[in-house]
């Protein structure tokens, strides 16, 4: 069974083989469009593309992570994880999900790399202690994370960094970054890197990006942080249903006041929605059940770089990250000392100036006539 003979069948063919009708396929495409945050008018193009798409090999590497990204993926409902791994991709290496362990697991990775050289996708969750860090900080099968990453991406078609740790260094990289954690794009320079940030990312965004690559065989349009515009093109704030309250100046002041109960804006409670680009407000979480702002908690800004160091989670976006009256007082005190010294000098100078002033005599004036 270990022998692999990659299928030459396209997605359309394998679906039809499973008894999926053309209407079913159309529905599949409609759902795919919705998942990729593409307009329904794209459905025909998606159908055409999917008729040609093949199940790509995917190698999922986990480094300094918490497994939240994988957990998130298991919550995906359109497509479901089972549909994804049975019908859409071939998930050939994934610590948390794969049956094999130890050497057998590592062999699975090597086999997939060899059989699909130049074509497989690498997905990474977790940050990586950089080449200058102690390699012992994080190892798998006796290899440092850095070595394994570089070896695996060597012949990859593209790399998808999933979660804020892999995209931006995330929690391990938070100040003071004790293990020298780095992001995938810090390390991988010769391959396309797509960043799917979030702590964890919305599952549909992970699957949507995979679906996009599968459907069109190329990367989606990316923002300045290499994040797909379709999901990260708009801020939480811009799409937040509580936005009208922001505009009206109605804010919840605490978690259980009238404003909180009526769904007023959470700006004062520290919502980072204004500076956060993600799709939570439209896609929401867990089969559209809710999302943090709907549940009454301010957005943590988890899809943004350095969000752990972006000031307290309960401080408004406008509050400086190290704001404290103490700093201002200290600066003021320093100012008073310097000011006092300068002023004392000025005072002395005035006295000298007065002393230097020479009285005018009438003779002197007369001399000017």
């Amino acid at each position: 069974m270990a022998a692999r003979k990659p299928t030459e069948k396209t997605l359309g063919e394998s679906l039809r083989e499973r008894g999926v009708s053309r209407r079913g396929f159309l529905k599949f495409c409609a759902a795919t469009a919705s998942m990729m945050a593409l307009p329904p008018s794209m459905v025909p193009a998606i159908a055409a593309a999917l008729e040609k798409a093949k199940r790509p090999s995917v190698i999922w590497l986990s480094f300094q992570e918490c497994t939240g990204c994988t957990e998130s993926l298991t919550r995906s409902h359109a497509p479901t994880l089972e549909d994804l791994i049975l019908d859409v991709i071939s998930l050939d290496y994934h610590h948390t999900l794969q049956a094999a362990a130890g050497d057998a697991a590592e062999q699975a990775r090597e086999q997939a790399m060899a059989a699909n050289a130049g074509e497989y996708l690498v997905i990474v969750d977790g940050s990586i202690p950089g080449p200058d860090s102690n390699p012992g900080y994080s190892t798998v099968a006796g290899h440092s994370n850095y070595a394994m990453l570089m070896e695996t991406v060597e012949n990859a078609a593209a790399v998808i960094a999933v979660g804020t740790c892999a995209t931006f260094g995330g929690l391990p990289g938070a100040n003071p970054n004790p293990t020298g954690a780095m992001s995938v794009m810090d390390l991988v320079k010769n391959k396309p890197v797509i960043n799917v940030s979030g702590c964890p990312p919305i599952p549909m965004v992970i699957t949507g990006v995979i679906a996009h690559y599968l459907t069109f065989g190329r990367l989606p349009e990316l923002d300045a942080y290499n994040r797909p515009m379709a999901f990260f093109g708009q801020s939480i704030h811009d799409r937040c249903y509580r936005r009208p309250f922001y505009d009206k100046g109605l804010f919840a002041k605490t978690f259980d006041d009238e404003g909180a109960r009526l769904g007023w804006c959470l700006y004062e409670l520290g919502c980072k929605g204004p500076t956060t680009y993600n799709a939570c407000a439209t896609m929401r979480w867990n089969d559209g059940t809710s999302w943090p702002v709907e549940a009454g908690h301010p957005c943590l800004g988890c899809s943004e770089p350095k969000f752990w160091d972006a000031g307290g989670f309960y401080n408004a976006v406008s509050v400086p990250t190290s704001a404290s009256g103490v700093n201002v007082l200290a600066a003021g005190a320093a100012g008073a000392v310097v000011g006092g010294a300068v002023a004392a000098l000025a005072k002395k100078q005035t006295k000298t100036a007065v002393a230097h002033r020479q009285p005018v005599t009438v003779e002197e004036l007369e001399a000017k006539l």
């Binding site: 008894g19 999926v20 529905k27 409609a30 329904p40 439209t282």
Partner: protein, 150 residues
């Protein structure tokens, strides 16, 4: 069981929302206006439009409000492919609600379609091309080629 029935409040839909609070359904109105434009295009140019309601930044109650404004029309249809797809005409002729569900009845997508007939109800061109052959096969059961759903 739940004591919920003892809570003196209606559970279903957005009707529990107090009226008169102007923030409510803030994002339903723009969609309704879009529907109006789409209807105009359908009438004047025959152009159909699909709106992905899952991509809308709806707040709690917005979707319910939208659907209650559109109302329920006379036509209902169901397509059984990769789980059920429910098609419901709204009280506005030409405006259809198409609800794509997976086999576990989780919603995959929810579209408003402004069209004379929603696309998923139309036979697919390739199937149509095979239609006569399929009928012939049924007329002459001796010949092989079983009728395919696909």
């Amino acid at each position: 069981m739940s004591l919920l029935d003892e809570i003196p409040v209606v559970v279903e839909t957005g009707s529990a929302a107090p009226e008169g609070d102007s923030h409510r359904h803030g994002n339903a109105e723009p969609v309704l206006h879009e529907v109006r434009h789409a209807l105009a295009r359908l009438i004047s140019a025959g152009e159909t439009t699909k709106i992905d309601l899952k991509a809308m930044p709806f707040g709690p109650g917005d979707l319910e409000h939208l659907l209650s404004v559109l109302g329920t029309g006379e036509v209902q249809a169901s397509v059984d492919a990769l789980g059920p797809t429910r098609v419901q005409e709204t009280a506005i002729p030409g405006v259809w609600l198409v609800d794509y569900l997976n086999t576990e009845a989780h919603r995959l997508a929810l579209h408003l379609e402004i069209a004379t007939v929603p696309e998923i109800l139309c036979p697919q061109p390739q199937d149509l091309a095979d239609a006569i052959a399929a009928l012939d096969a049924r007329l002459n059961p001796d010949r092989s080629d079983p009728p395919l759903a696909s």
